[in-house]
């Protein structure tokens, strides 16, 4: 078969912070690098990370220590984070920040000229002591500034961009990965991008849930690609949720709204948190509030024509409090819910925000698989950023550690690929069957006729994940969810798109994305059901306690339904391991 092929030293899939940091490292070293991005790179989801980036610089407090940062990150991860990876990230954080500074990232500064640092939840001095100011920022646009700085630098370093190209699948070879099969969205042209190293930096997949803060592009494309290549995903049961996103939109209403006296009600007007948590009520921790809301919805006390949300009541606070103490909430609510909170309650629902799990990697971002209980490195494949699970976030991520994760491990991927190429990493040649396999998804959508639509299947998928595998998880409900998912998976196989044209066929891209959402959802469902404990962001109603004896391990899912495990690394190189402690 006559297939166009282009060769690069490295192909990076994804133009967000992790991908651009990796490509920059490689392009600057003189390697021939291609970045494929389905949207223009500066429209990547990194732009939404407004909070900042952690590094123990000690600029505001006079002193800080990467070991304290490491301690906070391990505690935050509820001990599921790999201590060698967390050590690497926290230790390399300061130099990574200074590199960004030298590239021209406009960090906010102190009067003395040093980079300003703010306080953020979970950051302490001296192993759990007083709060420390560790978060660097560029005003409230850190992600945006990072993305633009990196993009400009990449252009200067002559990285080649394939913008508005979609990576459909990895192309396998006898040993490892040979490259990716990519589709030019504008022309419909298909090209095999062959590479010594392929780096996945495809971000998160919040779109598997009905309500998410994730942009529409976050469809877990790297997850689908990895699973279809027969490789595993790790810790996919760990998703961060926020209790109050605007129903039908996903835009967050700050938790401060409940702090100021707002409360949640069900369709009977009942303030239900009084029932679940008589003492703290609406000020209970995130998990408890989110789960209680989901129980109300599941048990038929949700509001609206479909009973699929609850209401956040603020009008009793009065105009002055709302305008003064909760600035912007009124505009948000009017814009995204069509509701004026001075008069009516806001429809809200637990909303997915961030995935801690992903593609398992070493600290050098090399993708791993497991065979007979042993880690094996997949030749020529790397992953970094939210799509990777290195694992620095474990069961829960600390604020302002995600921007750090993407630059530290994007850089690590670049450094390792450089070294490997120097040491002779070559190209791998796929068989014609490997090429066929990488085209099979596209061929299916091109050929299927008269099936159900992508919209119908995606909406059902998101509903199942929200209701049965979201914040309220019990074996019983997940079993129901499994049955629905399996049926839906069958229906997806015969689903079809009406538009079969080549030029700018976005419905075909959305169909390919749906395949990736389905793979990601199944990984989440299997591992959420498997892990019979509660840890970090994974809360099992039927197993409310953390169980270190049986579950201090990473879980792995393969697309044939096989589940395996890997030990958590508790052997940092330069410091004593951080010992297990109960959650406070």
């Amino acid at each position: 078969m006559n297939l166009a092929t282009q060769r690069f030293d490295a192909v990076i899939v994804g133009g967000g912070g992790a991908g651009l940091r990796a490509s920059l490292e490689l392009a600057q070293s003189g390697l021939n690098v291609a970045v494929i991005s389905k949207v223009f790179p500066t429209r990547s989801h990194t732009v939404s990370a407004q909070g900042g980036i952690n590094a123990a610089l000690g600029n505001t407090d006079g002193s800080d220590d990467w070991r304290w940062h490491m301690y906070d990150t391990v505690m935050g991860s509820d001990f599921l984070g790999d201590q060698d990876a967390i050590e690497y990230m926290c230790k390399h954080a300061p130099e990574t920040i200074y590199e960004l500074e030298h590239m021209g990232l406009p960090f906010s500064r102190l009067d003395n000229g040093k980079i300003y640092q703010r306080a953020f939840g979970g950051q302490t001095r001296n192993f759990g002591g007083e709060l420390v100011h560790r978060t660097c920022c560029a005003a409230d646009r850190t992600g945006h500034a990072m993305l633009h700085t990196l993009y400009q630098r990449n252009v200067a370093a002559r990285a080649k961009f394939f913008n508005e190209w979609f990576a459909m699948d990895l192309v396998k070879a006898e040993q490892g990965i040979a490259g990716v099969m990519a589709l030019n969205i504008e022309t419909g042209e298909v090209v095999f991008l062959q590479a010594r190293a392929t780096i996945l930096a495809t971000g998160g997949a919040g779109r598997i849930f009905q309500s998410t803060t994730n942009a529409h592009i976050n469809t877990g494309d790297g997850f689908g690609m990895v699973l279809r290549a027969g490789l595993p995903l790790q810790d996919m049961e760990f998703w961060q949720f926020h209790p109050t996103g605007i129903a039908g939109a996903g835009v967050l209403i700050t938790e401060g709204s409940r702090g100021e006296g707002g409360y949640l009600i069900n369709k009977e007007g009942e303030r239900y948190m009084e029932r679940y948590a008589p003492h703290l009520k609406d000020l209970s921790c995130r998990d408890v509030v989110a789960r209680s809301s989901m129980i109300e919805i599941r048990e038929g006390r949700g509001c609206g024509p479909k009973g699929d949300y609850v209401l956040l009541k603020l009008d009793h606070l009065g105009t002055e409090v709302i305008n003064k103490r909760l600035p912007g909430i009124r505009e948000l609510s009017i814009t995204f819910a069509g509701v004026d909170p001075l008069k009516n309650p806001i429809p809200v629902v637990p909303t997915c925000h961030y995935l801690m799990g992903g593609i398992p990697t070493t600290v050098h971002a090399q993708v791993l698989t497991v065979k007979n209980g042993q880690d094996h490195i997949v030749e020529g494949l790397y992953a970094a950023g939210e799509c990777a699970c290195v694992s620095v976030h474990g069961a829960n991520r600390l604020g302002a550690n995600s921007l750090l994760d993407i630059v530290v491990f994007g850089r690590a991927a670049g450094l390792h690929v450089q070294q490997s190429v120097r040491e002779g990493l070559g190209y791998r040649t796929p068989s014609s069957a490997d090429i066929e396999a990488a085209l099979s998804g596209l061929n299916r959508w091109n050929n299927n006729q008269n099936g159900e639509s992508v919209d119908v299947i995606r909406n059902e998928l998101q509903k199942i994940m929200q209701n049965d595998f979201g914040v309220f998880r019990t074996a019983e409900h997940m079993q129901e969810g499994f049955k629905k998912l399996e049926k839906l998976q069958e229906r997806l196989k015969s689903a079809s798109i009406k538009d079969k044209s080549q030029y700018f066929n976005t419905s075909r891209i959305e169909a390919l994305e749906l395949d990736n959402l389905m793979e990601t959802a199944l990984a989440t469902a299997y591992l959420a059901n498997e892990r019979t404990e509660s840890r970090g962001a994974h809360a099992r109603y039927d197993f409310p306690k953390r169980n270190d004896r049986d579950w201090l391990k990473h879980s792995m899912y393969f697309s044939d339904g096989t589940i395996d495990f890997r030990p958590v690394n508790m052997k940092p190189h330069e410091v004593e391991p951080i010992k297990l402690k109960d959650r406070e």
Partner: protein
Amino acid sequence: MSKFISSRLSWACRRGMLELDLLLGNFLHEAFETLSPYDQKLFIELLEMNDQDLFLWLTGKEVNNNHYLNGIIKKIRYHAEHRHSIKTF
């Protein structure tokens, strides 16, 4: 509007921020065709702006009455606030 143009524009409404996906995407699908050719041209130009600026303008956090795109920004904001016509609680 040809299918090619409409697909192209709807892809250009895919942004790095959910808020922009919603504001731009809803406007494109629900209001774009009713605009004058001049306003359509402004909308297409608006899509070339960066996400951070779009976010501040379209959520009203920053207003620049003299900017040549201010008119189309106002139309998008007005549309967002009035598109939820049926309320059922």
